[in-house]
């Protein structure tokens, strides 16, 4: 095996009393793709931030090609040949592709070196098949193209080691293939790559070797990911065995939610075009699609936030007339919004307040225009106990909770009122395996109790595990609906790109 490109030895980093990394060793050889695995909070991001110069480690050293280096800023990291593609892109949307590439690059006789930049961009395009239009503003690029720009940006600066933090989370399946082939090409040309993910099948398909972190320590290494089972790797990550939830046969009842020819217009983003669908009691309907194909509009119409321009919607047999969140809720709809922190709850208020917010005006929580603080608190305490929400108490600031606990809180607040239909968007985004597992079990419980559930998601594996039927959205339409027996990642992926629409 060739000498390591980068070696991290004994890295320890604490935040207060919390040891985010403890004596972590990691190395990447030229031409190697290393998988870095771990649950949320296992210390992956901290470790990479140490490598990229954002945090100074308390102990340990970093060696670049055998030489110890001190990396205290991203400028140091770039100088050492380390490039990072962050999960949230570091791009300025209103500047052009080329301007985003040239930031921080010294000019030529006081001016931006446009010609030199174009030449370098073209060269990288030829080497790795990563082509981009230099003069487009970044806001005009798709998410996949923005990611490509981030990779090009790192190569542009002469990176020999590329860190990618959960790069596939934002991509459609077809884009994932493109990314993987680019990464393989880069590795073949001698670059080192650190691929951070918790999607085990991707790690198995792409990486040559894996380092698994748990609670800030190296829990184990996998030398042959392709021939290691996902279950074995999951066990390394969690420290115990993970069994996927079993979905029993469905016994669907009557329609609890129907949409008939729903169309929207006059708003930013993708509009809905003649969307019809039905969810029956006791079934889970998945809505798959690359983000930005109308899922948000669909969720907003169903939850009464946005009124459609045409079409009819019924909940439990009753026609929705006014489209207000209160009306659809009164008819029996529960909603878990896509963004926990902004539309889900009020981060600066006590958790208890957020947990009763949608029903604040009902007799349970207020009377004669005044709140019932005791009832609100009692309700929150009860749910915290029932759902094992880890927090100091109902009066904790909601924003202080972890993602998994927030999602449990949101779930608890809806399920406490036995909705007939539940709509959830991206239910487990950003959650680790344990928390996701809990959420999935709750959905299956609700299904068994006769609740109809709509899950809008981009994670196809999750949808395949949960859903009885999966509808695929493309450009504001439902292009097809597949039963669980005929749905495969490949078919869904094809439909998501609009390639195979027929119904």
């Amino acid at each position: 095996m060739p000498a390591p490109l980068i070696e991290m030895r004994g890295i320890t980093k604490s935040f207060g009393a919390v040891k985010a990394n403890e004596a972590v060793d990691l190395s990447v050889a030229p031409g190697e793709i290393l998988g870095l695995l771990g649950e949320n909070g296992a210390g992956k991001t901290t470790l990479m931030n140490v490598l990229f110069g954002a945090y100074a480690p308390d102990a340990g050293e970093i060696l670049v090609q055998g030489q110890p280096v001190r990396i205290t800023s991203s400028a140091d990291a770039l100088a050492a040949g380390i490039g990072m593609v962050h999960q949230h892109f570091h791009l300025a949307p209103r500047l052009t592709v080329l301007e985003n590439l040239l930031i921080g690059i010294p000019g030529k006789s006081g001016r931006i070196d446009r010609a030199g930049g174009l030449a370098r961009l073209a060269e990288i395009g030829r080497q790795h098949g990563l082509t981009l239009d230099p003069d487009l503003p970044v806001s005009a690029l798709s998410v996949g193209e923005q990611q490509r720009l981030e990779i090009v940006k790192a190569l542009f600066r002469g990176a020999r080691l590329l860190i990618l933090d959960e790069p596939t989370a934002v991509l459609a399946p077809s884009e994932v293939d493109g990314l993987f082939s680019a990464l393989r090409s880069m590795a073949a040309q001698g670059l080192g790559i650190i691929f951070i993910s918790h999607k085990l099948n991707e790690v198995r398909a792409l990486t040559h070797r894996c380092t698994v972190l748990r609670h800030g320590r190296v829990a184990g290494r996998v030398d042959d990911p392709a021939n290691t089972t996902s279950a074995a790797m999951a066990q390394l990550m969690c420290g115990h065995e993970i069994v996927p939830p079993a979905r029993g046969p469905s016994t669907p009842g009557a329609d609890v939610l129907t949409l008939d020819g729903i169309s929207t217009s006059k708003h930013a983003g993708t509009v809905l075009r003649d969307v019809s669908l039905a969810v029956r009691a006791g079934e889970i309907l998945g809505i798959a699609g690359v983000s930005g194909n109308g899922q948000r509009a669909l969720a907003e119409v169903i939850s009464g936030v946005r009124a459609p321009d045409a079409g009819r919607m019924t909940i439990a047999g009753q026609t929705v007339s006014r489209f207000s969140p209160r009306e659809v809720q009164a008819l029996g709809l529960g909603r878990i919004p896509e963004d926990r922190m902004t539309t889900g709850l009020v981060t600066n208020l006590p958790l208890a307040d957020s947990m009763v917010l949608p029903r604040i005006g009902t007799a349970a929580f207020s009377a004669k225009g005044l709140l019932k603080p005791d009832a609100i608190r009692a309700f929150a305490e009860e749910q915290i106990k029932a759902y094992d929400i880890r927090c100091p108490g109902p009066m904790t600031r909601a924003g202080a909770l972890s993602g998994g606990n927030l999602q449990k809180a949101l779930l608890a607040r809806e399920l406490a009122f036995d909705p007939k239909v539940l709509i959830v968007s991206q239910p487990t985004r950003g959650l680790d395996i344990g928390a996701a597992r809990f959420i999935h079990e709750k959905f299956l419980d609700m299904r068994a109790k006769g609740c109809g559930i709509i899950v809008i998601g981009e994670d196809l594996e999750e949808l395949l595990v949960l859903c009885d039927r999966i509808a695929v959205m493309y450009e504001g339409r439902i292009v097809d609906t597949l039963g669980s027996a005929e749905a495969t990642i490949a078919r869904l992926g094809l439909l998501m790109t609009g390639a195979e629409g027929h119904s």
């Binding site: 991203s74 962050h86 300025a92 209103r94 500047l95 930031i103 006081g110 001016r111």
Partner: protein, 314 residues
């Protein structure tokens, strides 16, 4: 009415527009650099006043106009650095600090002026900048006397506009300024110091505000009075929005405002005497509000404007 129009549209009128536009152009460019880097500088009104005072005083004491300009520019840079210290280095509220800088600078200007000149029935005056006709160019009919028979500071403002555009759009530093105003994290991860770049942009902005103040007390009025700025700093903030944070458009906005201001001055003087003069004074401001409401509804501010940058925060 035609007499009024005749009186209005003549060479003197065009020259007046250019003259009125000059301090606005400096101030607007200064505010624009600051805001492009993500820092709103509400200290502009007070900074202009303080610079008008220090420039005037330095000239009055030394007898040198250009020394006065230099002092005004240095004062502006110092006040810019002060605002940057609060908002960039310490990450405090840009609104609150800007208003604080304006109150502080205004108070300091009044205080120092009284301290140096005492209370006088006739305010002291200096022999300010004289017009400096440019050979050949000033002989062009209409345009010549209007544009090329002006104060040296006017020519500096005219040069400052393309220069600002060049710096902002063609130099690596200008790209850094735009990047830290749009996405400081991106600039940081590319090895650009967000703090240093913002400091530099706010200080450059302060220097331009200093030129604006110097023009008022040393070329336009040749004296320092407490009303010498009278809202021009606030107008510049509006003009930056109106000009969509672009040097050319911002300068154009300053010119347009100056046109309306010159127009109302003529209207005041042109025998429409039964209308109170305050009504005319309102015109440029009404124009600004209407123009902003009509033209700038879709203007998009730099994304990171008002947002302090702290590296370890996500």
């Amino acid at each position: 009415m035609s007499v009024v129009l005749e009186q209005i549209f003549q060479v003197g009128f065009l020259a007046a527009i250019i003259r009125i536009a000059t301090p606005l152009a400096f101030a607007t460019l200064g505010e624009m650099f600051s805001e492009r880097a993500g820092v709103l500088n509400l200290g502009i009104e007070g900074i202009m006043l303080l610079c008008a005072m220090t420039g005037f005083t330095a000239t009055s004491l030394s007898g040198s106009l250009w020394f006065g300009v230099l002092v005004a520019v240095l004062t502006g840079m110092l006040m810019g650095a002060l605002h940057a210290l609060f908002t960039v280095a310490l990450g405090l509220s840009q609104h609150v600090c800007g208003i604080g800088v304006t109150l502080f600078s205004s108070g300091l200007a009044y205080f120092l002026y009284r301290l140096i000149f005492g209370q006088q029935s006739v305010p002291p005056a200096i022999k300010g900048f004289q017009t400096l006709p440019i050979p050949v160019l000033s002989d062009i009919p209409v345009l010549g006397p209007a544009v090329f028979n002006q104060f040296a500071l006017v020519y500096m403002a005219i040069i400052a506009i393309p220069l600002a555009a060049f710096v902002l759009y063609r130099t690596p530093w200008g790209l850094s300024v735009r990047m830290v105003g749009e996405n400081p994290r991106a600039a940081d991860s590319a090895g650009v110091s967000v703090i240093a770049t913002r400091f530099q942009a706010v200080i450059l902005g302060g220097a331009l505000m200093g030129l604006a103040g110097a023009f008022l007390s040393m070329a336009q009025f040749n004296a320092f009075t407490f009303g010498v700025v009278s809202g021009r700093g606030w107008v510049a903030i509006a003009l930056v929005v109106f000009g969509r944070w672009d040097p050319w458009r911002s300068a154009g906005a300053a010119l347009l405002f100056a046109f309306v201001d010159a127009l109302q001055l003529r209207m005041q003087a042109s025998g429409l005497g039964h209308i109170p003069y305050e009504a005319f004074l309102m015109l440029p401001f009404i124009f600004t509000i209407v123009a902003m409401a009509v033209m700038s509804r879709n203007a998009v501010a730099p994304s990171a404007l008002l947002k302090p940058f702290r590296r370890e925060e996500r």
